[in-house]
Subunit: 415 residues, 2 copies
């Protein structure tokens, strides 16, 4: 067994980090290590400054005029293009609007409409649940459609593809385990069966390079409040490949998706471009915070981001496994870095209480039922020293068994 | 012809206004009269303060913990109950979430599900267009459904009701003319035919007393960024009568509508209450601004609000008609105050240019195609003196014909 990295080794890693300076743009609490950026990203100075301008100048002073003068009306497509750069999508294919759940509904309907005669949606049993719930919703309104789930009877998505499958809804990075799918390879297999694919990028957008266009993806959805740091509940995004635009329909056909929204026509005529996936008026204050949050990404090289992400997660796995042997942890995340997103999960029998004890010590991760300790590593604002500190605290919490204290056992309403 | 009110008369009206003090809570620009609060309500000190706390303390400092500690997760139902008080809805029947368009989709599906065997949606040709577009979207996904429109061939809603009608979608106040429907009477007629009703309250919530429960309404939707002053694009609300809860389904079945969202179950099980109409994660910053904006409503008596609203719109109609005779204006709003919301519309052949000229002089209303000058009167922050000033400026713009200047002819992308 080789020695674990020393504090000098870790200091050298941080000194060599090309993204280290970006940390100063974030508002982090001293003494805390925030490993929950895969649930809610940290606030940046830029996001808060943008929000203040939006509230004080655009809303309070300019009022209704800001729809034009401050560009509010075009924020969904402007921000869509900026996120597009981070997920490998050329301009005009991404819109920021509504929620991930609602965008899944739109994308599934759009895909099904492009595959008439096919009546099956394939999804993952281990998916983030809302994907499954929305697929159920789509099915409920389309007689004859049904859902096949990967993971039942050890099936893989590849095993479920046949001429009945219209669309496959698949997570790029699994929300629990952090396992990363090969987007290009799976998209090829899905296309070979004649189906279309909807990629859920909630746990990969801003966490690693994504190549939607190069992978020939059809549709994608994702959220902007995790690694993109857009603020709590910031609007989600939807990608539709340009080859599908102009042919697609989706039933949430509100006025913001109309080709001429301010002509106030009686009949719906969908915009020929990506705006067709818009529906109603968007929460501008939340969009403006997101716009500020995206500024920092102009300085980020996605390959450097990926290198740092893997360096952080490799280090965490190495330190935790090296320091916590025999303390009840089981790694749930692929050890092979190419198959890993930017998070690390360990199972522990008392995961809920352990996480509460960690949080009490300032190491903020989260718990996922029934037994997962989940740690997200946002490369923009975390250092290797943070990782080492978190691993030390995890060891201490497990060795002292302080998680057994009664105060850590009571579950909050939302976890 | 009686004399028009003098400036002394108008000063007396303001001195007697029980809501006059509330104006100080709003951030208004000196020298402007803002008559577009029926499109985007003005910002209040309370809304901006709430937004700052949300950004600085809840997001930046407390991060993920704020879902519990700041009550973020319950904001949709907390704010729903607070809006409920303003629209005559007892607790547990209103949720603030998503957009009006999306909530129309949910409510129509829910109503149709409660009326099996019926296959017609009735709506108004003169409806705000997104209502019609969403009804089209519902129909597109439900084979056999069709849409009947009031206003074609001089039909009234009453004429269109029969045993095929599942649901009627109707605006409480017309977005162009400001005409107010009798909610209780029309709901009775719709129920007598066996159909359900979805009321669109976009132009009545916060503008006048609404009595959903007392009218026996089934569903309602509305927005929070007009008279409720929640901020640009603030999330919308949905009302479902308690007698329908537990029996309703809607296809936007995301995880926020699940009975146990954090159990991460594979199958959807809808919440038995109003939360079932939630779908995905909501834009918290926008919700927090709305929460601040609602504080002022605790001090507002809705009957006093209605009295002031009618006093303002009566005065505007009287002054404009008295001062602008022969200048090309035609009143589009009911002269009978009981049939009027809180806005006044005049048609003018060159309405677009006239409105631009008014805006250049600091009287901010809006234009609605093809020929409508629309003026909204938010009773919380407007005075009778504002109304008199606006009427004077309208007279001046029309008499001088300054609207003919070239700079007023070019239409902005969004108006």
């Amino acid at each position: 067994m080789t020695a674990l990295p020393s504090s000098d080794d870790i200091a050298r890693m941080d000194a060599a980090d090309p993204l280290a300076a970006l940390r100063e743009r974030f508002l982090l609490t001293k003494g805390e290590v925030y490993l929950d950026g895969n649930s809610l990203g940290a606030a940046s100075i830029d996001a808060l400054a943008a929000l203040q301008v939006a509230a004080r100048d655009e809303w309070s002073r300019d009022l209704i005029r800001s729809w034009n003068s401050a560009g509010w009306f075009d924020l969904p497509v402007e921000l869509g293009d900026r996120i597009g750069r981070l997920i490998g999508a050329a301009a005009g294919q991404v819109v920021v609007t509504d929620t991930t759940s609602i965008n899944i509904y739109k994308a599934l309907h759009a895909a099904i409409g492009l595959r008439p005669g096919r009546d099956v949606i394939v999804a993952e049993a281990g998916s983030f649940p809302t994907d499954l719930y929305m697929a159920e919703g789509v099915i409920s309104a389309l007689p004859g459609m049904s859902l096949r789930l990967e993971g039942r009877d050890a099936s893989r998505i590849e095993d479920l593809l046949d001429e009945r499958v219209a669309v496959v809804l698949v997570n790029h990075v699994n929300y629990r385990s952090g396992e990363l799918r090969d987007m290009a390879a799976l998209t090829r297999k899905i296309h070979a069966s004649g189906a279309l694919v909807v990629w859920d990028l909630c746990h990969s957008a801003g966490a690693l390079p994504v190549e939607l266009d190069a992978s020939n993806a059809d549709f994608a959805v994702g959220c902007s409040y995790k690694y993109l740091n857009g603020g709590p509940g910031a609007p989600a995004f939807l990608y539709a490949a340009s080859r599908h635009l102009g042919q697609v329909a989706q039933p949430l056909s509100g006025w913001w998706g109309h080709a001429r929204p301010f002509a106030f026509e009686t009949g719906y005529a969908g915009d020929p471009g990506i705006r067709r996936f818009q529906c109603g008026t968007q929460p501008v204050l939340s969009l403006r915070a997101l716009k500020g949050a995206l500024d920092i990404w102009d300085q980020v090289d996605m390959q450097a981001l990926r290198a740092k992400s893997l360096s952080l997660t490799d280090l965490f796995i190495e330190l935790v496994e090296g320091q916590c042997a025999g303390l009840g942890l089981t790694l749930q995340t692929p050890r092979e870095s190419a198959q890993r997103g930017s998070q690390v999960a360990f199972a522990h029998e008392n995961a809920y209480a352990v996480m509460q004890a960690l949080i009490a010590r300032g190491v903020i991760g989260d718990f996922r039922a029934p037994d997962i300790l989940r740690f997200g590593f946002a490369p923009l604002y975390l250092s290797h020293a943070d990782v080492a500190h978190a691993a030390d605290v995890l060891r201490d919490v497990l060795q002292t068994e302080e998680w057994r204290e009664a105060r850590f056992a009571v579950r909050a309403a939302v976890t």
